[in-house]
Symmetry: C2
Subunit: 198 residues, 2 copies
């Protein structure tokens, strides 16, 4: 099997980056040659989260089809939010928490969407279903994504499942959710590089 | 919460009927007012399976929007394979094993598609994830669907997961897979009422 890219949406937010890294780790643990990539520049909130848990930025790849024939989408499914050349590769999996639209395949695939507040809340289930232990630093990334998407549990899209997942991940990561969460959101707000679409 | 219809595709096959009945049961057990319905006449194979495990045919409903505002799709996702008035109701869940196409929502939903040979192979996982015990007669329906979609494990779409699920369901249902499977397929073939699209 050749390399499979795991990617979030354009103008990546913390969920897109952290989900790509966290799901690529799970797929590698289960035997797939997976690599997390990103489609654009990271915001300061995401940079803060990656630094906190000791991760390098995923590689920036503009044309996925030049290096991979199969991809996994996280935190999005709509074609226009994905790689420009998404139609030139096979989407073999999607893990998402958004509405479904502008998405079509010719073959069956693994598509897991749930109406929760963050992609990593679903990834936590997939780690459990696959019996893969979550390293502390991956748990920190997954927690960061939930804090970001839920604005520290204040967003109307935040569900009980997200809150429970965050608590569980914070325990594994060994961080104080409120203290870390505020610092992370502040890092993003401070330099106000968020765009309206976020 | 008002009633939620659980429905398979038009020209229903054994998977569509048995998945609708089996998932409606699971949803009822978890507190939803769910009712399995069908969009068309059942074939003789399906009639044989329902009789074997003591089930009545799901009610035939042509226009779902006259009685429900929310529906769950099983064994299909494409609009043209669903109820004629599918655009007039909200699809809140999809459980399927086909390619994804002609499907779009305005809100996030629970969408679970996996590249396996039968919808009930996925339903078995959902029973486990929800901690709901499978009654013997429901297990019989779920087994019938796998036997039908996989032509008793001979179809190229049949996966290891389907075989393992069938074995587990046969144990719960207390039936001999080969003997029952051949009788069921024979019931369908005998009266040759299958159309080419099946
Ligand atoms: Mn996002
Ligand atoms: Mn997200
Ligand atoms: Mn079918
Ligand atoms: Mn089927």
């Amino acid at each position: 099997m050749s390399k499979v890219f795991v990617l979030g949406h354009k103008n990546p937010d913390t969920d897109s980056i952290c989900s790509a890294l966290s799901y690529a780790y799970l797929k590698k643990e289960t035997g797939m040659e997976a690599e997390a990539i990103r489609l654009g520049e990271m915001n300061n909130e995401t940079i803060f989260a990656l630094k906190e848990f000791g991760f390098e930025a995923p590689r920036l790849v503009k044309r996925v089809s030049e290096e991979a024939s199969q991809v996994i989408l996280v935190d999005h499914n709509e074609r226009q939010q994905s790689a420009d050349d998404i139609d030139e590769v096979q989407v073999i999996e999607v893990i998402d928490h958004h509405r479904i639209a502008n998405f079509e395949t010719t073959d069956p695939l693994f598509f897991r969407a749930e109406p929760v507040g963050c992609t990593t809340t679903i990834l936590l289930k997939l780690y459990k279903e696959n019996g893969v232990e979550i390293p502390a630093n991956i748990a920190g990334l997954m927690l960061s994504a939930i804090i970001s998407d839920s604005l520290l549990f204040k967003s109307p899209t935040c569900t009980e499942q997200d809150i429970r997942a965050a608590r569980e991940l914070a325990e594994i990561a060994g961080v104080d959710v409120d203290a870390y969460g505020l610092a992370m959101l502040k890092a993003g707000a401070d330099l106000s590089n968020k765009t309206l679409e976020d």
